[in-house]
């Protein structure tokens, strides 16, 4: 197979032939090859951010009937590089009263938490950083570092706005982690494995077909987990300035910015892997490069929905948002888990499998819709009739 068939293997073999004459002990060889693949995966993750920022600005601009960046380079492609130059040459101030060590660790940690997820992403049949057997649990674990970094940033800034942002972040992010974790369990259950490679391998039928509600709830809670509009209470500009990163400037702010953009795309990637069959597609087994293209194409689905939600929906009030999570998403996700588990066990090998799963999902969907309707009707009845009041009235 030539270079185009499997470029990674080609380059790997070439690198091995480079170090072969050195006669290194096998331990060093393992270490060097691991190091090379680590650097490859990590730099892919970070380089894609540069492109993603441009994509998001362009798409968001189209939603708002604007052109978006179009001055720097062809189609504004160099805009992100211009932004980077600006951020790097900005003075980086640290408040005198801040907790300096924590203040400086926080932006690094926020990028690390997102980048670590990419270690277990299977890009193509033979291309993946590593395949640990607790992949999904690992993703949940490193994802929580992001929450920690936001709390660290808000607390150490010694600024009341930042602290408020951090408090909100804790309330929001840990709340939405519950439905996300429960919905992550649905692919694990269907594939009977936590390894990402196994989950992709088991998706002869995309999991979104048999568990569509789980996919939707996962996407909603994962977007909330990133903390973007409409769930961006932790940095609501109109209320608490910039939230947890109020005191950050220069490249440290840039790191929070990059982490957020990478995180939302990572959500798209995870959505594609867990529910849409990852790299699977016609011809992907023969040509890993094609599998990578499929994965990236599928990732744009979740990513585009996130941008769409961001530019369509207004910010939700914090009590509404927490109520939506605890009183709607959590019971709903538990119901989905129970129904999926029972139906999967009863029908897995039969021809009725897909219809049974779809009917189960439909029943849950209609029931939750009915519950929402009932609550809304009750609230409408309780609402007092509108009375005309004088316009200006002293408190």
């Amino acid at each position: 197979m030539g270079f185009l068939g499997d470029p990674i293997k080609f380059i790997g073999d070439w690198l091995k032939s480079l170090i072969a004459p050195l006669n290194l002990p096998p331990v060093w060889e393992t270490f060097l090859s691991t190091l090379t693949s680590v650097i490859a995966v990590a730099s892919f993750g970070l380089l894609i951010v540069i492109f993603l920022i441009w994509v998001e600005r362009k798409v968001a601009a189209r939603f708002q009937d604007r052109l978006g960046p179009n001055r720097a380079g062809k189609y504004g492609l160099l805009q992100t590089f211009a932004d980077m130059v600006k951020l790097i040459t900005k003075e980086d101030t640290t408040p005198e009263t801040a907790d300096k060590v924590v203040f400086n660790i926080a932006p690094v940690l926020s990028v690390v938490s997102v980048l670590l997820i990419w270690a277990v992403v299977p890009f193509a049949p033979t291309w993946f950083g590593t395949d640990i057997n607790v992949g999904v649990l690992y993703i949940a674990a490193v994802g929580s570092f992001g929450i920690l970094s936001i709390l660290m940033a808000g607390w150490s800034s010694n600024n009341k706005y930042a602290l408020l942002g951090a408090f909100r972040a804790v309330a929001q992010l840990i709340s939405y982690e519950v439905p996300m974790l429960i919905m992550l369990m649905v692919p694990v259950l269907l594939a009977s494995s936590m390894g990402m490679v196994d989950i992709v391998a088991r998706q002869d039928m995309w999991f979104i077909v048999v568990a569509p509600l789980a996919a939707v709830v996962f996407l909603i809670s994962a977007i909330a987990e990133v903390g973007r509009t409409p769930f961006d209470l932790l940095e609501a500009e109109s209320e608490i300035v910039a939230g947890f990163h109020t005191e950050y400037s220069g490249m440290k702010f840039g790191m929070f910015f990059a982490a957020e953009f990478l995180h939302i795309f990572t959500v798209g990637v995870l959505f594609a892997i867990l529910f849409m069959g990852g790299w699977r597609g016609p011809g992907a087994e023969q040509f890993p490069l094609l599998g990578m293209v499929y994965l990236m194409a599928k990732s744009t689905v979740g990513y585009f929905i996130a941008i769409w939600m961001r530019s369509t929906l207004p910010r939700i009030r914090i009590d509404h948002m927490l109520a939506f999570n605890w009183k709607f998403l959590v019971p709903l996700s538990l119901a989905i888990l129970i129904v999926t588990a029972i139906l999967h066990k009863l029908f897995a090998a039969t021809t009725l499998y897909i219809p049974a799963m779809l009917v189960g999902n439909l029943v849950i969907f209609l029931a939750s819709l009915g519950a929402l309707r009932a609550v809304a009707q009750r609230q409408r009845k309780q609402r007092k009739p509108f009375k005309k009041r004088p316009v200006a009235k002293a408190a």
Binding site: L35, E91, T97, G129, N159, L334
Partner: protein, 118 residues
Amino acid sequence: MLDNWLFIGIFISIAAVFPLLPIVIARFLAPRRPSLAKQETYECGMETVGDTWVQFKVQYYIYALVFLIFDIETVFLYPWAVAFDVLPLFAVFEGVLFILILVAGLAYAWRKGALEWA
């Protein structure tokens, strides 16, 4: 197996170096003229009054407690989900029973008003 975790270990260190790099580069390229006014908390706005690290609303703490219960629940349920293919129907319903007990816990927290943002 150990190789996989070696990969994760190296990945953590590399992932920490990558975001550090631009910050360090910026340290050399960016101007550094600190002044008393610039180093103030919330430099561009009003001067802050009083201590920042104050007591916070107890509601945040209650949400954290409820979260903790569900987080531990999911940790218990993951092995159940991983072994799902080989589980007998009986074990599946045991798992469902476990979830239902937690639903009862959620209903209790709801009833007690732990989920209200008051």
